[in-house]
Each structure stands twice: as structure tokens, then as C-alpha cells.
Amino acid sequence: MCTLEQRSNLFILTLTGNNQHRLSPTLIAAILSALRQVKSVATSGSVLITNSKGKFFSNGLDLPWALAAGCRVKALSRLSQMVESLVSFPIPTISVVQGHAAAAGFVLALSHDYMLMREDRGVLYMSEIDLGGCLPDYFTVLFRAKIGSGLARRDVVLGGRKVRGREAVEMGIVDGVWGGEERLGEAAVELAERLGARKWDGEVYQKMREGLYPELCVVLGAVTGRIQAKL
């Protein structure tokens, strides 16, 4: 399902298993549990890296579960808890997209502060328009919060465009692309080390992210109270 590894100040969450890393109730619960664990031991200087293995980063929700009567709402609400946890995480977060990321899988990747992708493999794809499914409100708010270009948002969300690495950089969706899984992994660790070296205060970092994405935090119920400055 997923593993959590600590490598000095880096927490590495890896999606495992064979089912295209589809977000089933079990996987979502496992991710939520891992995030809670990281939160409980993280200190200033910690960084979270979320990655995956194989052809897919994640191919979205486990469809049979999600489409079952009455389950779609539950599925999307369960997923929103995961997005909320990431958006209010007290340390920097990096998603490492080594393969295809579709629908909820794309959302999972986009919920991180920094997104790195492979140049030579994998696409980002919001499949909902092609599948005839609607987007929950927090999906669209997330896209508006994270992707600045209106044209890029239109192409991705309304146009169902399959976006490869280079394009994703040009469209302002990801922060960088690397050729090959190894180089991508190394780039993520390098970025994580640079961010970790700043030793940011977790409460302040979380509050600042909230200031960057206020609409998203409201729609996810992730708004926190005022925090005192420590001089």
C-alpha cells in the first residue's frame, strides 16, 4: 500500500503495490496514517517526499469503489482529508511524479508544495471530462490555487489534455523535469536538503502556506487561528 521511511531529516512516503496505486479506502487510510506519523515526529528542518514506483504515480480513485452506489461522495470526502492534511502540513512537501498521475492521483501530486516530474515518461491527466465525471469543489479550487495560467487550467481541466513533462514545466504545473527515475529521485533529495537546511518553524510555515492558498484552506476546512510571533 505505502511505506514510510525516515532518512535523517527526510520522510519518504512511497506508494507500493500493483493496482496502479489507485486510491482505495485502504491506501487513503494508509497515507493518512503515514502523514499523521510524520506530523507527530517532524521537527524544524524536516521535509516530506512522496513518491511511487513503476508506470504510475497514481491512476486516481479506485473506480469500482468510487462508483458503487453512495460511495462516490464518501470516496471524495475521504480523499479531501488527505488533501487537507497535505495542505496544512507543518513542513515542506515534495511530490516526485515518476509515472502517470491521473485524476485524484494528479490531485495528490498537486497538493504538495513542490512537484517534480520525469521528462521522458508519464503524463498528468485530469480524466474526469472524458469519463463524464464532475469535479468536487476542492479539486477546482486546488487547480485555481496551484496553476496560475488560465489557459493551462482550461487545457487540463476542461480539455482533458495529457501533459508530458516539458509541457508541464512550461504550463507552470511542475517545478522541474528530469530524464530517468534515478535523476528525478536525486533532484528531489537535493531540493529537500536545500529546503530542510532553512530549518523553518512548522507552525509558521503552515500559516504561511495558508496565506498563499486561502480559498483552498477555507474549502477544505483547514483554516487555523492566529499564531503569535516569537521574537
Binding site: D113, K146, G148, V204, G211, Q228, K230
Partner: protein
């Protein structure tokens, strides 16, 4: 502290002291606010405000040294809060000034100093010296509410906002232009001041109605006006 000079159509506000880092202390904040109100009272068609500074710093933000020198930690927090609240009217004054405003950032601009520059309509900086830096994430200081709104209003690029606010990136001139934070970056103090004056001349020659200019500017930043308590009026339609 600061001087306000009238030169033809221009109001030139200068933070003074070559060796100063122009910390926004209560005294400097009061002086700048007073100067802005003076400029407003003398505004005519074609007026332009140019704000600049002297030396290595444009402004290094609030006077944290003064805050920390308080008797107790809670007094220190009160001092910081006092500066935050008294700086708010400066941003409000700049957003509602009835004339175009140009910041000529000849040195480092950090935290509230960066906010001061960004509150102007146009920002020029040096390409050979000086950085723009939101130090708060490194200092562990949360942003005042109106800072986040100011940066969201003025920094169009989402990636730039994340890099500046969440990552505390120190942005040099060329990058600041690329990220759309400043309007231009020039090599050397003379060139950046020259660019500021040249733009000011072009703006002044348009002889805009100050009240209309102010209302149009405010209408560009509704969220910022709301948080600053500035009402966005619709002035009566002029002779059409």
C-alpha cells in the same frame, strides 16, 4: 529619517542616512505617513510620487531590535504588533494616493521594506546589487493579514508567490523582472534613479485626474482595499 522634496510635478520621498538600514521603526513609520499625507494634500493633475532610499538598503523591514529590547517577551510582541498596525495606514495611503507612485529600490528590500516597495504602482530595482527578500519564514514570524493580501494582489505568478513567501527566496534584479515582481532592473544607482525619473516624467505628462486614478487603482485591488478598510467608490461619471 525621511525627506519629502517637491521637484516640479514630482514628490520625492527619500529614506535618509547612507549607513542606515532604514528600519521601519515607529518614528520612521510616522515620518513616512506624514510625508505621504503632505504629498496628498498638494496633489494636482500630473503629480507623481517617487520613493527611494540611500545606501545599501532600501529598507530592512520593521525594527525588530527595538521590539526585542522590550522588558518582557509579551512587551516585545506588543511592540511588533504596534509597528504592524501603524504600517497598515502607509499601505492604505499608497493604495489610495491620488497620483501614480514609483518605488526606486536602490538596495536591499526585506520584509515590510519589500512590502513598502510593492505598495507602489511601479517598482524599479538594481540588477547589480540588492535583493528582495521576505525574511519572515526564516525568522519564524507569521505575516500580518494585509501582507498576504498585498502579495497576492501584486504578485501575479503563483510560483513567484510560493518562492517569495513560502521559500523565502532572495530575489535579485534580473529574476525579479522575470518573475514579474518589478518593472525593470538597472545596473547601478544612477541608472535605476534615471529610469525612475524617466517613467515619472511619462506618467506626469498624462496629466491624469488624481481622484479618478486613485479609484481605478483601488478597483484593481478589491481584496486589498477590503482588508485595509478602504471603500471603493464609484466616482460620478465625468463629462461624457
Amino acid at each position: 529619517m525621511c525627506t519629502l522634496e517637491k521637484r516640479g510635478d514630482f514628490f520625492i520621498l527619500t529614506l535618509t542616512g547612507e549607513n542606515d538600514d532604514h528600519r521601519l521603526s515607529p518614528t520612521l513609520i510616522a515620518a513616512v505617513l506624514s510625508a505621504l499625507r503632505e504629498a496628498r494634500s498638494q496633489a494636482t493633475r500630473g503629480s507623481v510620487l517617487i520613493t527611494t532610499s540611500q545606501g545599501k538598503f532600501f529598507s530592512n523591514g520593521f525594527d525588530l531590535g527595538w521590539a526585542r529590547s522590550a522588558a518582557t517577551p509579551s512587551d516585545a510582541f506588543l511592540r511588533l504588533h504596534q509597528m504592524v498596525e501603524s504600517f497598515r495606514p502607509i499601505v492604505a495611503e499608497l493604495i489610495s494616493l491620488p497620483m501614480p507612485t514609483v518605488a526606486v529600490v536602490q538596495g536591499h528590500a526585506a520584509a515590510a521594506g519589500f512590502g513598502l516597495a510593492l505598495s507602489h504602482d511601479y517598482v524599479f530595482m538594481r540588477s547589480d546589487r540588492g535583493v528582495l527578500y521576505m525574511s519572515e519564514v526564516d525568522l519564524g514570524l507569521p505575516f500580518p493579514d494585509y501582507f498576504s493580501v498585498l502579495f497576492r494582489a501584486k504578485l501575479g505568478s503563483i510560483a513567484a508567490r510560493r518562492d517569495v513567501l513560502l521559500r523565502g527566496t532572495k530575489v535579485r534584479g534580473a529574476e525579479a523582472v522575470k518573475l514579474g515582481i518589478v518593472d525593470g532592473a538597472y545596473d547601478g544607482e544612477e541608472k535605476v534613479k534615471g529610469a525612475g525619473m524617466q517613467l515619472a516624467e511619462k506618467l506626469a505628462s498624462r496629466k491624469w485626474n488624481g481622484e479618478i486614478y486613485k479609484e481605478i487603482r483601488k478597483s484593481l485591488y478589491p481584496e486589498l482595499c477590503a482588508i485595509l478598510g478602504l471603500e471603493v467608490d464609484k466616482p460620478a461619471l465625468s463629462k461624457l
